[in-house]
Each structure stands twice: as C-alpha cells, then as structure tokens.
C-alpha cells in the first residue's frame, strides 16, 4: 500500500510504502502470520527455530521490564528481544 509523503530533500511529494505490521508491534495475546524477514542473518536463526514464513505466531507474554517478549510458534514457546522481533514482518 502506498501513500504520499513530503520529502524534505526533494521538496516534492513522493510515494511512501506503508510498512507492514511487524511482530514487535503485536500486543500480548495477538496473533499474526509470518510473511518475510528484513534481516538475512537473523532470519536464518529464526527459521531454524521454527519461525518460518506461513507460520502462525501468538505473543504469549512480555518480560517484566518490557523486553524481551515470548511467543508461541510451532507448538512451543520462544523468547526473543524486541529488536529481533522487529525483523519479522507479518502478513
């Protein structure tokens, strides 16, 4: 999806892609389906742990200090930092 935003350098309106939802933006209890990753190195590690495109993810809880988070994926509970969760783009 595209919207138009004002680019300060070019001083014109340019198309800006509205970013998809990322895993880090989900609240506790919310679900999403993995679409793709923004980071190759991280994606390899996440996929090995069962976080693959097409897989459903549900946020189980957030650590007491707000980071990391715990998710349910592939039938088990996985914890990861918010920064890592932000590399997962949801459908």
């Amino acid at each position: 999806m595209f919207l138009f935003g004002f680019n300060l350098n070019k001083r014109t309106f340019v198309p800006v892609q509205i970013e998809n939802m990322r895993l880090s933006q989900l609240e506790v209890g919310e679900k999403g389906i993995v679409k793709e990753f923004t980071d190759l190195e991280m994606s390899v590690k996440l996929m090995e742990m069962g976080c693959l495109p097409g897989e459903e993810i549900r946020v189980a809880r957030v650590a007491p200090l707000g980071d990391p988070i715990a998710i349910h994926v592939s039938g088990y509970q996985l914890s990861l930092r918010k920064r890592e969760a932000s590399t997962i783009i949801l459908q």
Binding site: G66, H72, S74, Y76
Partner: protein
C-alpha cells in the same frame, strides 16, 4: 573398556537427551574434553541385550547442525570426522514427541549425512496430554528408520531401544529428506569430486563449516574457500533455502502422520506458572527469595562437611608428621602438597551444593525464565540475560560459575561475564572479611535489630555486585564484538527436576573442579611453601644458632621459643624478603611487610590470608583459632610509632584490596581452560589487581 559399538546421542535441548544418557549408562560415565576444545564430553557404557557393550556419547543439545555456540559446534565435527576415535557407528536422535516439528529439523540434517540412525521418540505422555496422536509406524515407514517410543523419565521403552540399537544396520537405510544438490549444485559436485565424498550434504556442510573443522587441513580449507568464491556461494542464503526446504518436507510428513485433537497451543499449567513467576512484581520477589535461600543453603549446609574435610586434613597432616621421618621431603609433602590439597577439597561441598541448585533451576525450566526477566537490565551493562547465573554463582565460587558461562553464545557477552564474575564476593573472601570486620567494627546494634558488623559484611557483598556491574559497563565499550548479539531462546515447559540428574551433575562438577583446578592449586601451594620455608643464604642457620644459645633456652619456655623462631624465620624466608621488598609499594595503602607476605601468599587463594596472619603473628599455625589471631592482630603495634597496626583505615583498605585483587590461582586456571589462552587470565589479573591498588589507596588515604 573396549566397546563393540559406539552410539552418539543427538537431540534438541530440553528433549530429555541427558536423562536418557543417565538411564542408559548410570554411574558408569565420565566427563572428558573433546580433543582441542573445552566442551564437556560425556561418555558412558551400556550393555546390550545380545551381550555386546555399547559406548554412548552424549553430544551437546542443539537445534541444528549449524552451530550457534561453542558447545554446538562439536556435534557436526564429531559426526563428520571419520578418522576420529569418537566417530559413532550409530546415531540415536532423541525427539520430543510433543514438539515434533522443530525436533525433526535436526533429524533430517543428521539423516542426510547418511550415518545409520535410530529415532528415540521421548515424552509420548506429554504429546498425549496435548492431544497429539502420532502414527509411529507411518512415520517410521516414511523416514525409513526405526522409531522407538520411550519415556526417559519413567524408564519406559529403554529395553526396546537397546534391542533396536543391537539390531541396527551398519549402513544407513533412511530415506533422503530433501534434494540437497539443488541448493548449490556445482559447488557440492566439485567439493565432492575433489575430496572424494559420496555424500552431497556432507559436502555442503563442509562448505559451511570448513573454517572451524579441526580435521580439515589448511590446504583443504583454503581450497573449499576458493571453490566457494568460484561458484559465488552465499552461506546464509543457502542455509535459508535449506531450512525452508526441510520444514516443507517436515510439514508434509506431519500432515500425513500426526493428528492434533484440539488446538491447545501451549501447556495450560506452564502458562499459569509463568503468569506468577514472570510477573512484573512477584517475579522479581520470588527470584530474590530463591537467591536468598540459595546463599543461606550454600553457607549453612556446607559448613559441617567443610569442617569435616578440614579436620580430616589437619588430622592427616599431624599424623603424617608423626609417622614420617622428619625432614624437608616430609615437610614438602605435608605442609606443601597436602595443605594445598585441603585448600581444594574444602570447596567441594559448596561447589556441589551450588551445582545442585543450578541443575534444579535449569531442569525445571526456571533458569530460562530468569534469563528472560533479567535480559534487559543485563544488556544495559554489556552482559546478557544468561550472565545472571554465573554472577549469582560467583557468590559461592568463581570457578564453577566461569565453567557455567559456556551456555552464553555471544563471545563478547561471555568474555565480559568471565572477566567480572571474580569480582563478586566469593566464599573465600568471607573468612578475610569476618576477621577484619570483627577487628575494627564494634559489635553493637543499630536501629534495634541490625548488627553493625553484619551491616558491614552486607555492604561488602552489595559493593561487590556494584563493582562487577560497573566494570562490565566499562568492558562493554572496550571489548570489540565478534558477532552480533542476539537472544533467541526456547522457554521450555515447566517440569519436576529429575533427582538422578541433579545428583550426577553434583558429582561430575565436583570431580572436574578437583581434577582441573586441583593441579594448579597444589603447584602454587608447593611453591609458596618453598618460599616461606627457605631463606636466602644461611639466614635460617643463624637464627637457629642465635636461639640455641643458653640465655634464650633458659629464659623462654620451649613453646614460645619455637614460635619466636618460626616467626623470625618467616621474616627471613624468601616470602618474608619479598614482603620487605614490596613494602614501599604497599605502604601508601597502609600495609606493612607482614601484611605484604599475606598479600603474596593470598595470590594462591584468598582464604590463605587467615593462615598466613596466624603464622606471622606466631599463633601455632592453627587457622581455626580465629579469636586468637584476632587478638594478636588487635595487639599488633607498629614498632616505629607504637600505634596499633590494624586501624579502621588499614582494615578497610585491606578489605578493598581483597574485594578487587585477582587472588585465586584456581580462577586463573579455569579462565585459561575456558578461553584457551593466557591472554585473558593475564588481562583479568592486571585489571583486577590494578583496581585493587587504586581503590585501597583511595580508601586508606580518605580514612586515615
């Protein structure tokens, strides 16, 4: 012991692999090192139903053959090194039936290496509870391997597993899982041709891991690197393609053989426990409560066995002195070697209790939650959530704590944890602190319930945590990261601890500690004994002659005379001379040459301080008589000024020195063992001792 067949256990973490290993081998196991790396190698023996003997190797738990930590890198190298004495004839892949999908990834990788393989399907009861029903025969048929359902916890299906092991084929019959060649066709073909490999997946893994594999020669490794460039091989892309292909295969397989009755995602019980244990308020309260209990237990429960061990060695020393002919050899054996040995053995109870707790916390799954809760705080100071465990363990002893840093994947996080853990107040500092606090802090109550001495001790403990965190923060900026830090960790389902595992962990850790650290401690104590028992030139003879003159023999009681001789000899021994040499350096800290000797001897181990003080102030050499040492130290006067030696300023300066200085040969030895280089123990020694000097200096100058 010669085995007929070698079996390797491979599996994800938390699948009950170690429990299975313990069930198969019992106490018939030993820990060694894998050649060239400091990863525990657990091997044991087990009898098969056909009378043959199997050697079982427990390989570190891993989610994939692509390693994320040092422990994990062992798995592929053991499976791949055909020339090694550890190469298994058969691999048993342990799979958690309640979590088939993720567990099967590792299976498909091992299967494609074409090593004969059996699947042990553990935790079937858990799968049942979660409403998962598995068509085991269908699964076995599709994979082309024997699958044995077991329950390692309840010791179910173990005989069946042993029978299957004894019938196992010498050749791999399993079906291929994915089309490996298509990932990098030319590269795989070329490596396979040049290195005469018949297995494409093996060739692909070599391309990925050649830099870290010990069995490849430098030429071979360089050649693989060249070929990778030639075919523009991109490891991460290849791994991503492979992982997706494997999970596609697994999903199709599970679709055909596994039925889920209800969509219960998670264990409801585990979820409820988590709500309490990771609660934003109760979570921390419970955690600190557990910590408090742990310390109490480490100190309280170990006191009696430690006393027994000490008494045993005192008894052994005195009876050996009586039975063996007097002479330097006997002295070396008894006062050097055995005294050193007792210094090692006395820590066994604390280490065993600490590791029992750590193993219970890990076994139940609680440790993963602690890591989860603490990660954010720890990351701020350059550590990781996984550093919490070693830091807490540091209150007991830095040695086992540094051993437990192996679970930290990130190199920088692990190094910082190793570097700061010895700053945490360990149990060896306790006798030093109690002695000095008792000397200068009055024992009276403030605010009704708080004892002033107890408060001073608590302050020393809190101060040590503060300094460890501060140093970690500084290291965060000094050390360069070798790789990106990340924190992707399974939160396992809560389970009851397995007491058998806890017991075995205690035994194993204590054994490793005695064997590894023991060597160094004994060596250092022998050196110290020599330094304290001999002096340059004929100074000792002169002392003997001087005190054998009639006016001394007549006027002083023999016991007192011996003490005076011993203390004068100490002053003139090499250690005493060294004390005098360093006196100008330590003068600004408020220390005289006698304290200097104690500082030098304490570099073997901190608790030596009390014993050295006892000898110097000529108290029968019995460190147990704390009140006597204390009295003597209290009465000690500076010969020049006539004022007491141990003032408030000196005592606190001394405590600060002990709080920071790297005075522990065992820790240095274990850091060397864990980092495989003398660079890190040297850095640690340098920065800690430097800090000790500066902070003692400031303390003394401010307080005097």
């Amino acid at each position: 012991m010669e085995a007929d067949i070698r079996v390797a256990l491979v599996g994800n973490p938390n699948t009950g692999k170690s429990t299975l290993f313990n069930v198969l081998t019992g106490l018939n196991q030993k820990i060694g090192n894998f050649p060239g790396v400091t990863v525990d190698k657990k091997t044991g023996y087990c009898s098969l139903p056909d009378g043959r003997k199997a050697e079982v190797i427990d390989l570190p738990g891993t989610y994939s053959l692509y390693p994320k930590s040092r422990d994990e890198s062992i798995v592929f190298s053991v499976l791949a090194d055909k020339a090694s004495e550890l190469t298994p004839d058969l691999v048993v892949v342990v799979i958690d039936a309640s979590n088939l999908k993720r567990n099967l990834l590792l299976y498909t990788q091992v299967a494609d290496l074409k090593i004969p393989v059996i699947v042990a399907l553990n935790m079937m009861d858990m799968a049942h509870k979660r409403g998962i029903s598995i068509d085991i025969d269908g699964l076995a048929k599709r994979l082309g391997v024997p699958i044995v359902p077991i329950s390692a916890r309840k010791v179910d299906g173990i005989d069946q597993l042993k029978t299957t092991i004894s019938y196992a084929n010498k050749i791999a019959l399993q079906e291929a899982t994915i089309d490996v060649e298509s990932i990098a066709p030319q590269l795989i073909e070329h490596i396979g041709r040049e290195m005469e490999l018949d297995n494409p997946y093996f060739a692909l893994q070599l391309a990925h891991q050649h830099e870290t594999l010990k069995f490849l020669s430098a030429t071979q490794s360089d050649r693989i690197e060249q070929l990778e460039k030639k075919y523009s091989f991109h490891p991460q892309k290849a791994q991503a393609t492979e992982t997706i292909a494997r999970y596609t295969f697994i999903n199709k397989l599970l679709h055909e053989t596994v039925k889920k009755h209800h969509a219960a995602h998670d264990d409801p019980w585990s979820n409820k426990i988590d709500k309490v244990l990771t609660h934003r308020v109760f979570g921390f309260i419970i955690f600190f409560g557990i910590l408090l209990f742990m310390f109490q237990a480490i100190f309280a429960w170990s006191a009696y066995p430690m006393e027994l061990i000490e008494n045993f060695f005192v008894w052994a020393q005195s009876s050996l002195h009586h039975t063996l002919p007097a002479g330097p050899l006997t002295n070396l054996l008894v006062d050097g070697v055995i005294a050193g040995l007792s210094g090692v053995m006395v820590f066994i109870p604390q280490i065993a209790i600490l590791f029992a707790f750590i193993s219970i916390l890990e076994d139940t799954g609680y440790m993963a939650r602690v890591t989860f809760m603490m990660d954010k705080i720890m990351r701020k100071v350059g550590l990781s959530g996984k550093s919490v465990v070693p830091l807490i363990g540091g209150f007991a002893c830095a040695v086992p704590s540094i051993m437990s840093t192996r679970t930290i994947e990130n190199w920088k996080d692990r190094m910082i944890t190793i570097l700061v853990t010895p700053l945490v107040t360990c149990s060896a500092r306790l006798p030093v602190y109690t002695l000095l606090i008792a000397l200068v802090v009055p024992s009276r109550n403030v605010w009704w319930i708080f004892n002033l001495q107890g408060l001073a001790l608590t302050a020393m403990y809190l101060f040590s945590l503060f300094s460890a965190i501060t140093v970690a923060l500084v290291m965060k900026y000094l050390l360069k990261a070798r790789e990106r830090g990340y924190f992707i960790m399974e939160l396992p389902v809560y389970r009851m601890p397995r007491w058998n595992n806890v017991f075995l962990a205690m035994v194993e850790r204590a054994k490793t500690f005695v064997l590894e650290a023991g060597k160094v401690i004994i060596a250092v104590s022998v050196i110290l004994w020599v330094l304290a028992s001999y002096g340059p030139g004929n100074r000792f003879d002169q002392i003997d002659q001087k005190y054998h003159q009639p006016e001394y023999v007549r006027s002083i009681k023999p016991d007192d005379l011996n003490r005076i001789i011993a203390s004068e000899k100490l002053e003139n021994s090499y250690a005493g001379v060294m004390g005098h040499v360093i006196e100008p350096v330590i003068k600004p800290l408020g220390f005289d040459w006698k304290i200097g000797i104690a500082l030098i001897t304490s570099f073997a181990a901190r608790e030596v301080f009390v014993g050295t003080m006892a000898t110097i102030y000529s108290v029968d050499g019995n460190a147990e008589q704390m009140t006597t040492v204390q009295q003597k130290m209290h009465d000690a006067k500076d010969p020049a000024t006539g004022k007491p030696v141990f003032t408030f300023a000196v005592a606190f300066s001394l405590m600060m020195f002990y709080a920071f200085a790297m005075q522990c040969a065992s820790t240095m030895a274990i850091v060397y063992r864990e980092t495989k280089s003398w660079k890190w123990p040297a850095i640690q020694f340098g920065y800690m001792t430097g800090l000790a000097y500066i902070i003692s200096f400031i303390t003394f100058q401010l307080l005097k």
